[in-house]
Symmetry: C2
Amino acid sequence: MTDTARGTARRYGTRPTMKDVAARAGVGLKTVSRVVNGEPGVTPDTERRVQEAITTLGFRRNDSARILRKGRTASIGLVLEDLADPFYGPLNRAVEEVARSHGALLINGSSAEDPAREQELVLALCARRVDGLVIIPAGDDHRYLEPEIAAGIATVFVDRPAGRIDADVVLSDSFGGAREAVAHLIAHGHRRIGFIGDQPRIHTAMERLRGYRTAMAEAGLPIDASWVALGSTAPERVRAAAAAMLAGPEPVTALFSGNNRVTVTAVRILGERPRPLALVGFDDFELADLVSPAITVVAQDAARMGRTAAGLLFRRLDGIEEPPCRVEIPTRLITRGSGEIPPEDV
Amino acid sequence: MTDTARGTARRYGTRPTMKDVAARAGVGLKTVSRVVNGEPGVTPDTERRVQEAITTLGFRRNDSARILRKGRTASIGLVLEDLADPFYGPLNRAVEEVARSHGALLINGSSAEDPAREQELVLALCARRVDGLVIIPAGDDHRYLEPEIAAGIATVFVDRPAGRIDADVVLSDSFGGAREAVAHLIAHGHRRIGFIGDQPRIHTAMERLRGYRTAMAEAGLPIDASWVALGSTAPERVRAAAAAMLAGPEPVTALFSGNNRVTVTAVRILGERPRPLALVGFDDFELADLVSPAITVVAQDAARMGRTAAGLLFRRLDGIEEPPCRVEIPTRLITRGSGEIPPEDV
């Protein structure tokens, strides 16, 4: 199906309903329901009028709601980007708990940060009749989802927004959290602060970079190009980035790490250095308070993100039709020691 | 379907094949294939004979292999017990990598350690046409899977064995690892050692308890009933168990914790005590080397477990018919400090 054949995006708020079909065909809702579900009791002439209205309006039966009503085990899909990233643990579990409270099963899959894999997985889950999807997107173009959404599959994005379609999304305040983290380091005397973040095509990485830049600008501090390193969160890449920032005559005196994968490697680098280096990490992580020094972090409320996203999804499955919304969950700075270390040369 | 109606378990090695049907009906393999797939070119008499052989032998078409051949996206399901337990991260990712190398998608679900939920999820995945399943079981009776296995869904168990059916299983050497951990503590002078483990209905919890008991017996050491606590891994339960073992005139001088969830709480308890307490944990965990003291663990090779289980599954999907096997992956003691602390009173 080409983009043109698909027509324009059918948004939640504008998708034709059975009521619209009934009004256009000049019949009652029950009659439309009979035609749609192939039940008897409709005259051929009325059936033709209803079919014409369905075609004209582009109405598609909401199979999800129908499946839920029919008593078949409902299921929702959750598409993550990395099943082994501990940040997604509480999010995953929160979505599962909401699903369970609605009597639905949760099915997961991982895109492994590959947009093609994300699309393949999402469409496979749709083909397997999930009723709705919570997606942490890897890609930035989700128009492939339009026919599924039009066919009644509810979709909520979490952690990162959808690309080129209008859909519900639940985000952390990555910008605000990063800005607060860097302002905190500046308040403790740092002027040369490094930022090691995730790959630049990832929305949260860019938002955290924006927060870093904003905090530096607000303090009137210049940023040397060598202080910013975006890329894979693999330990060797993070080590190389940190080594580059710490070399030369004007090394950074503090690091702001863009997510928990980067932070864990940064903690190891800190432990190997003879002199202290300040560190604030984005994302809290298990045992952050038990390493020495304990790690100051910007904590995200991953469980609340998952709960909110799943809650929105079930509202959609309940038939609530309203324009897509964007929910932003605040972050929280937790000071534990590593972010309060003063610069070496002060 | 009752257990009786199902007949005896159809094992991999004994499941009738198309070849068996052909031999019994006295026709060629191609003829059986035509009948099974509803293709033309078979006389009514031959078709009747083939159908009789199918009924007599209890042959069922292997839909999984058929689906794989037909080019539809293959998919395998992985049923975990807790999506947020970091032990399953590398296992999960390893299964995913093997699936990907076979061009198959991985779909996950969590039983949340509830046998009813496990069954519901497994059957839902089967109904959604996964080609095979890797299962970390919560329950101890998997006879509900017999019709699915007979219908061609390949099944491999990992981390814990299947109950009441014969199936491939990949386990860690929980017994050997626990025995080595406790012998290590004994070698460092401990005589009163506590064991805090997971719930007694979990296979690995009982195997680790058996390893603990064996090591104590081999050293001629008695075990006080108050030194063993099996139950939930929730922090409050672990704290209460440790407090009970550390109270009284003859407190334990060392702890052996039964999995990473217990260990993380034990690490916190250690950090709060004025005097040292030895600790060896089952399962390695992130940052175990960076807390103080660094934690001695019995590491499981979770990635290897996942890789092995998924490899077995794809062998089954390739049509290899051989009796179910049991693979045991060795564990490895990693000494880091906490397990080498001598008893207080020595």
